[in-house]
Symmetry: C2
DNA sequence: TTGAAAGCGCTAACAT
DNA sequence: ATGTTAGCGCTTTCAA
């Protein structure tokens, strides 16, 4: 049970006016209602003295809006999403909105139930980086009319989306190697083939087809020793270029390459999709494609807020561009 | 404005019973109130059909509790806090509670205002990793009676705390170098001297005093070239051991050491307070002290929930122990 | 076995 | 210039 707090009525009684008057004053409408400066001051002071904190729920119940946005991501402990959260939170806060973050662990069932929980809390809008495909999401999305914008992972052109064109970005990356690849290995981690990675693979494949580069998709095993074996095989087969699909496996790959006496930057080349703080400091520093995470967060927020305000129709595909951070490995 | 949703009354009308009956049934108290199975079923079905979602705010307003815990951290994009958030969220979710995360950026003013915002939303309890010192916090904490437990950063023995004994852990670390340090450099990053780091420094100092090891506290500059100069100086002065106060500067330090031809693991040794995924894969793999983050999150949640339930008094200091991950650098 | 009604704290239309 | 009051959607006591 919540401890009893000071209510509007308590103040009204203390000052000797009505609840309405207090409400007006405390909401900055004192002048608008011609309440005398003196009385306004008394009310303000009494409120402060009694440590009045408005009951958010009564307010929300009354006004039908919560000034809260729900954010659904697959894993806050992933640095990409952690930064996205931060950016979204900042932008929201600047607009007087709050943020409700929720973690799905890429569990389809959990995602559905968490989204429902968010509805239940009457968030005014949602930003979602979905694990589920559109078909599963559709049912639940029909339950509500609140604006939803998808971020990072697209679902359907009929929905709002802010993110990156993974296909094209990956495709362009192939031309960035300092030497045309003899054979290209596209590296990913076990159990991580979400839409974004699939698109990156397609992009790489398209470029390789155009440029006549043999390409192979390879999953790096979790164990370091098995990873070493896989990489050795690749090296023996004249693979000299590596495109890493996201930053979670780069370090392991690097260790494997080192282990096989392959010198990145000399007899082999590597580019990573997604940047990481550590990339600047490893040997050699790793060339990476940096997504404009802050920008994506900001745009997503601007879009939900705009839709809340102006009742726009969804369907806006907002594609931001990545930036290649050229270090020494490519 | 929120779109109108199905309410209890809508269902009551549709079925032809009272709001009360519907409320009983939907809250699983149908049997308790001897409502006929048949009627219960009709009500359940109608609710589903009409996509009834209870209004959380009306419920909270009525019941005076929100089943929500507020979490205040300084930076979600820091991997330590990101993991802590995740752990707390999972444990809370398992107990039917929700989590409200809020970012302070170690800005004292912002922290105060965000905590107040959390009160306003009537969270049932709070978990805080504070930026402010106890004096500043005290005023605001007096405004409420909800249970608050501090995590990671302690403030005062009269409060609940879950975390690590930074002093002792750091002190013990000094004995873990594979060779007794000739001179020890304790490395930290600019503008990061929060309580936890201060305690780690004191711990290191205590150990060095006991063991007669000259120790110096050094702040690693942000620019790599300046960092190189600082490290060079240290090396010239026979510093052969490095204790890094947290994981954010390790990579830069490593680059500086490499740049100065110092071979970690051979003529120099390094241990880091706080682990990082990448540490396993760099050359050489870095020995680090790992905090039991998951455990800290779980304990913090258990404690708030217990205090909500049983109205316990605060003052519980729950110290968890760290684990040294011995790799090659120490 | 079910219904009526009060009330949680707030806002705003309507009175005065 | 300020007070009265209805009502947001829900739970729960009391009455029938």
């Amino acid at each position: 049970m919540k401890t009893k707090r000071t209510s509007l009525e308590d103040i009204a009684k203390a000052v000797g006016v009505s609840k309405a008057t207090v409400s007006f004053v405390l909401n900055g409408k004192g002048d608008q209602f011609n309440i005398s400066k003196a009385k306004q001051k008394i009310i303000q002071d009494t409120a402060k003295e009694m440590q009045y904190v408005p009951n958010f729920f009564a307010k929300s119940l009354r006004q039908g809006e919560t000034k809260t946005i729900g954010l659904v991501v697959s894993d806050i402990s992933n640095s990409f999403y952690a930064e996205l959260c931060k950016s979204i939170q900042e932008q929201l806060h600047a607009n007087g909105y709050n943020l409700f973050i929720v973690n799905t662990n890429d569990d389809d069932k959990l995602e559905l139930s968490l989204i429902r929980e968010l509805f239940q809390r009457s968030v005014d809008g949602m930003i979602v980086s979905p694990s589920n495909k559109i078909e599963k999401l559709e049912t639940i999305l029909k339950e509500t009319k609140i604006p939803i914008v998808f971020a990072d992972r697209p679902v359907d052109p009929s929905m709002d989306f802010v993110g990156v064109d993974n296909f094209t970005e990956a495709k362009n990356l192939i031309g960035k190697f300092s030497k045309k690849p003899n054979k290209l290995a596209v590296i990913f981690k076990a159990n991580s083939l979400v839409v974004t990675l699939e698109d990156r693979i397609k992009g790489a494949r398209a470029a390789c087809d155009e440029l006549n580069i043999p390409m192979e998709l390879v999953q790096l095993p979790d164990s370091q020793s098995k990873a070493n074996t896989v990489i050795k095989e690749l090296l023996n087969n004249q693979f000299d270029s590596f495109l890493v699909l996201n930053n979670v496996v780069v370090m392991k790959l690097l260790a494997s390459l080192r282990n096989n006496k392959s010198e990145i930057g000399k007899n082999a080349r590597l580019i990573c999709f997604d940047d990481d703080e550590a990339f600047e400091f490893v040997e050699p520093p790793i060339t990476a494609l940096r997504q404009p995470i802050k920008e994506i967060g900001k745009q997503a927020v601007d879009r939900v807020l705009a839709r809340i305000k102006d009742h726009l129709e969804p369907g806006n595909q907002n594609l931001r561009t990545c930036k290649l951070i050229e270090r020494k490995s490519h």
